[in-house]
Symmetry: C2
Subunit: 406 residues, 2 copies
């Protein structure tokens, strides 16, 4: 008899997101003439930049010619892209990351979801609260979460990110083995300083823990004092893996390309305490279960690092950050405290009280959709996330509508 | 302390493929003027067909225009592609497969590697011998294989595919839970009849087992009596999942698009024997760990089903099958028994004795590379796999060289 992985039964269906969809649909039905503006979603709206489109098309053309056709590529990605990333993303910051420590993939979601396979099923996991749900759900599926009760899984260590700690959790006093960090954070928009990251790296070194650092939003950092990479912290190259993506920088959410940095110096351990190279494990995982990213897409991603590509991506980021400025200054003006929006595309608004109430108010009075914070974890109550990923005129109109409504 | 998944330590490094590479490199160094012809690899060499290239480029153009840009798509794939597949691949054969039972992905390797996550870690696995190594390795990583000794893992049920059973294993007498079947087979090129597949479907129904059916090579079937899909067998829609790909049909090995059919009628079971819908589990897995295939690639794949696309793909398949005919008739003429090559791009040659000896002979005397059968499992000894995926003139020259050499 084929028996299932019963840990799937421990997954909690996200009633929140379907409840959001239900409320939006109901409102639209009652108000068919209102054009609803969605600031709830973390998906880009601006098209791929011209230099990327051009190189993408050219590479598709290469696939149509016997002389330049490419079949299976390296599972780890083509050297041309790994080298461009090492040079432009890491070279200037002296992180010492080399091209063969960079694995190209079809998405950070996939990589961060798959990465936990490399560890034993009883490692102690720590995640933020609120948090991007993928970190949690993939560990539930693997059996690391324990029983669910009152909004939390028994075996998971939750790191509360609240106004009290400026949304930056400090390392816990107890040992944990696998820590998920994300800065600039989704959903809170908070960014961590060198000092705050150093505390985590020191913790990981002391406890022989591993940090999975999600840097999907690093390109939105404007403040030169804020680190873009965990590898800007000395010693991180022995205890951290970093996830980056072309999704929010070059507009690749529908094009699919990301990259994960696994330094060769990182060690994980057998139960007997013998060290093993994490890079070799991930390489074996990817070689066995993945077949690389489409050649034309890797060429499109490479074009993001050309002179024109870098300028165009900077313009894209600036566009969304200007949206974020508009949201943030309006929220300020209305008297709500918030974090994010300065070095991040997300604005995390402290509504106080029930986030659902705030959500309902601005949906029904302004026709604007945001995300109730509870969707990201229990500590998200009393907050909503507003996304700056939308067209300028919609962001302006949404904020005008919210101002008149509240 | 971060402890590793120690099952990775049970994986056997494939010395065979590195040994092939080493021998080829050594030969090339000693014979710098010989142009080595590789018939060892299962990778296509012909370019993407014109109708696919054209639609692919057009869709890239859509991504560069704000009016037609697409961000995140459905994790399961766009309806336009799922509908085309249901209509053209399954509609004519009355399999009753509907579009929402079809999941689009970036590769059959990925899907078949990830699928085992849905099951408990102690299901009894059965695989062919010889076999595509991914079925085995992914179960080793998950801890289902047991200790390795004398070329085999203790907990895996190996289904010997040898000349004695015409390379088609019958269901075992004992119960197994998870069966990997692949027809037309890689590496043997053998195809299964309706009757042979029916025996497996009946077995699975009786034992409440699940069949993972790899149909990556179905397009190479010329004989109208041979089934293309497991779903041509009555009752299979309750006990089977099928994997298909654009890789070997439309030349997508470097473009990455595949699809997996999970009928809604398939049930898997909790330990207590309660049935659960497999479709819902895979949908949850993909929604949590995958973010869909690039929009332009899904449009490129859809173009394979246009009138022109279907004609062009037929021509591609015919091209490789004609290569296979050339290989097969030469092998016949040399007096070796073989299977495959008629309804498959692979020819499995019974060399007798040591496959390495045969390999060495044709490498050193003819400058042609094939794959020793041992690379696919212990029962592969005494065989080599010859691939028809190459350019016509190279195939002709390779076979001429082999004939003069032997």
């Amino acid at each position: 008899m084929i028996t299932m992985n019963e840990h799937y039964l421990e997954l909690q269906a996200s009633y929140l997101f379907s409840e959001v969809a239900r409320k939006v649909a109901a409102f639209q039905e009652q108000n068919p003439d209102t054009s609803i503006i969605k600031l709830g979603i973390g998906d880009v709206t601006r098209p791929l930049p011209p230099s990327i489109v051009e190189r993408f098309k050219e590479a598709v053309g290469e696939m149509g010619d016997a002389a330049t056709f490419r079949g299976y590529g390296p599972e780890q990605g083509y050297p041309f892209l790994r080298e461009a990333i090492a040079k432009y993303d890491f070279g200037a910051r002296n992180t010492g990351i080399s091209p063969d420590e960079i694995f190209i993939s079809d998405g950070t979601k996939c990589d961060i979801a798959n990465f936990q396979e490399l560890f034993s099923t009883d490692v102690q996991v720590a995640i933020g609260d609120p948090v991007y749900p993928v970190y949690l759900d993939t560990n539930v599926m693997a059996g690391r979460a324990g029983a669910y009760r009152d909004g939390r899984y028994g075996k998971v260590r939750y790191l509360a990110s609240t106004a009290e700690n400026n949304y930056i959790p400090a390392p816990p006093n107890e040992p944990v083995d696998l820590v998920y960090l994300c800065f600039p954070n989704n959903p809170t928009g908070a960014t961590a300083t060198h000092e705050q990251l150093r505390a985590w790296v020191e913790y990981a070194r002391r406890e022989r823990a591993l940090i999975l650092f999600d840097a999907a939003y690093e390109a939105f950092i404007r403040d030169p004092a804020i680190p873009h990479s965990i590898f800007e912290i000395d010693g991180a190259e022995e205890v951290a893996v970093e996830f980056r993506s072309f999704s929010k920088t070059a507009g690749f959410t529908g094009t699919r390309c990301a990259y994960t940095i696994v330094p060769k110096a990182v060690r994980v351990y057998s139960r007997a305490g013998e060290p093993h190279e994490l890079h070799a494990l991930w390489n074996r995982r990817q070689s066995t279960k993945f077949n690389g990213v489409a050649y034309p897409i890797q060429r499109a991603a490479e074009a993001r690092y050309s002179e024109q590509g870098r300028r165009e991506v900077e313009e894209l980021i600036a566009y969304y950050l200007e949206n974020a400025d508009i949201v943030r200054s309006e929220i300020d003006r209305m008297g709500y405290a918030c974090t994010g929006g300065d070095n991040s595309p997300y604005i995390w608004v402290r509504t106080g009280g029930s986030a659902w109430e705030f959500f309902d108010q601005i949906l029904t009075r302004a026709g604007v959709v945001v995300t109730p914070g509870l969707g990201f974890g229990p500590s998200g109550e009393g907050h909503v996330r507003i996304s700056a990923f939308n067209d300028r005129e919609k962001v302006i109109e949404a904020m005008e509508r919210i101002r008149s409504a509240l």
